[in-house]
Symmetry: C2
Subunit: 319 residues, 2 copies
């Protein structure tokens, strides 16, 4: 079925995907511009003859095409995981999301067209939906009103992929990611809390009042879901991915991290139920379309959090 | 209320909007990169002291900011009508829609943020919806699956505007245009048929089998609708604009143009019910949200076609 090209291969999801594909005996070419991804996260695969890495900015179709030509075997699957993962940074400077989240999609699609790569697997986001309050969010809901530049550029990417399906692209999957946790962690609320407590073990400052409730999926379950969806029939498949529960509050996360890392710390909450511009306070995410196809996550939000907190504490403070 | 800045001011809609605003006594600064717009279409306004034109590529926020600084009075309203209007060209080369339809929106928004312009009025499109078959399309429908790069880049633009509302933009209107007809015509099915018949009065070749049915709005009604929506309450207003009827077929258009321009011509139809990649064969467009606010078009699809065919025949063949 050809080589698996992972764009954004040195990021959190890319590294976990590479590990899983290599374990299955597949060949993997990871590319990343290393703007946020880190080359050393892939070091564990360097001795594997089925693995290669190139530093590539996927916003340049020419650069993607060059690495495809040099790969030695045809690319069967392109996994587009490249994006700016720092949502507040994208709010402060919209050019970041334009270049790293949207123009990478544009470059990848141009390269796929020229190199005739048959299958695209795209990491989209629940952020494309915006704020539906208490309404359960299924894949066909409208109107789509993303409230962050990150969400806007993920929606823009989906739109461009859909038009490509009409014109030249044989197959595409769109995975609408939830909050995904695990290691190697490079950002996110747990990572943030662990690092804050490492710096000041007596105090943890939390953005917002802690009432924001979100569902979390462990990255191991996410990878399983992506591979499951990629094997389903269909030219253009769009799926929400997430746990089946309603999630946990930021307060519960803060307390669990505190108990694990610095039990004596005082937790100081901010005001309001939004942590930052573009943050959605509450979110009811339907994954019934996906579970109807036979997939279920091994861990719910609470289990995912406990596992990820242990993993991230080990990564950051070695204990 | 300040100057009206019209981006894409030398295009079909921009020229008609400028004429109407000037007739109302407003001040207008039209900008256009003249890639498809034509400077001479604005010549009728050059003697009006309330009118000015600058050649500007709106994809450059710096260029937009420079023209705003030189304007002499604050910009109160920015009308973003700049886009690639040639849909098949955008399918052949996606970079055209990226640069002229999406990056113009991105540049305009950056300029509005820096210059603190309070109101954006944006020409979006029914092409953001994709193909819903017989289902009536209201503003909140999902899923949004545009099938042309043009529609994809209009949806991408809407997403970016919605995120800007969350972060810094005080007010925005999103007008989802139907097929709009009238003069000065620079593209579109009537213009195409008239010019073909001018070249070969004995024969008219039609893409597709002629069964595509579409609703048409005359540009005079479109301008009224935009001004009406701009005066409604609300920070972020999204409206379909169109006639209230189900539209007319391409066959009816071809026959009406033939009867007007070259009655002896034979009409030769192609195959299939799509004229080109990205063309939607049938389209049921709901404008009930707009009519509920008190707006009604003066002309239905048939009336709009008759008026526009007479206007375009006069423009192209002087009779």
């Amino acid at each position: 079925m050809g080589l698996h090209l992972i764009c954004g291969g040195a990021g959190f999801v890319g590294v976990n995907l590479a590990r899983r594909l290599l374990a299955d005996g597949e060949s993997v070419l990871a590319v990343d511009d290393l703007s946020r991804g880190r080359r050393e996260l892939l070091a564990e695969f360097d001795s594997n003859p089925n693995f290669a890495f190139n530093r590539v900015d996927c916003a340049s179709a020419d650069a993607v095409l060059a690495t495809i030509k040099d790969a030695g075997e045809p690319v069967g699957h392109l996994w587009h995981m490249a994006a700016n993962s720092d949502i507040p940074a994208g709010v402060a400077d919209p050019c970041i999301d334009l270049e790293r989240t949207f123009l990478t999609t544009f470059g990848v699609l141009q390269a796929m067209r020229h190199a005739r790569i048959p299958e695209l697997h795209f990491a989209s986001s629940s952020a494309i939906y915006g704020d539906f309050g208490e309404v359960e969010i299924h894949e066909d809901i409208g109107p789509l009103e993303p409230i962050s530049n990150y969400g806007a550029m993920k929606l823009a990417s989906e739109a461009q992929i859909r038009a490509a399906i009409e014109a030249y692209l044989p197959r595409a999957d769109v995975f609408r990611f939830p909050n995904v946790i695990g290691v190697p962690a490079t950002h996110g609320v747990i990572w943030d809390f662990v690092r804050k407590l490492k710096a000041t073990p007596e105090r943890l400052d939390v953005l917002g009042d802690g009432s924001q409730q979100k569902a979390y999926l462990h990255v191991d379950d996410l990878i399983e879901a992506m591979l499951h969806i990629s094997r389903l029939e269909g030219r253009y498949k769009v799926f929400n991915i997430g746990p089946v529960d309603a999630g946990v509050t930021v307060r519960a996360i803060a307390e669990t991290v505190r108990d694990r890392v610095a039990p004596a710390a005082v937790i100081a909450y901010g005001e309001g139920n939004r942590g930052w511009v573009g943050d959605v306070p509450r979110f009811r995410y339907s994954v019934s379309k996906l579970t109807a196809t036979g997939w279920t996550p091994k861990l719910g939000s609470e289990g995912a959090l406990r596992k990820a907190i242990a993993e991230i504490a080990l990564q950051e403070i070695g204990a």
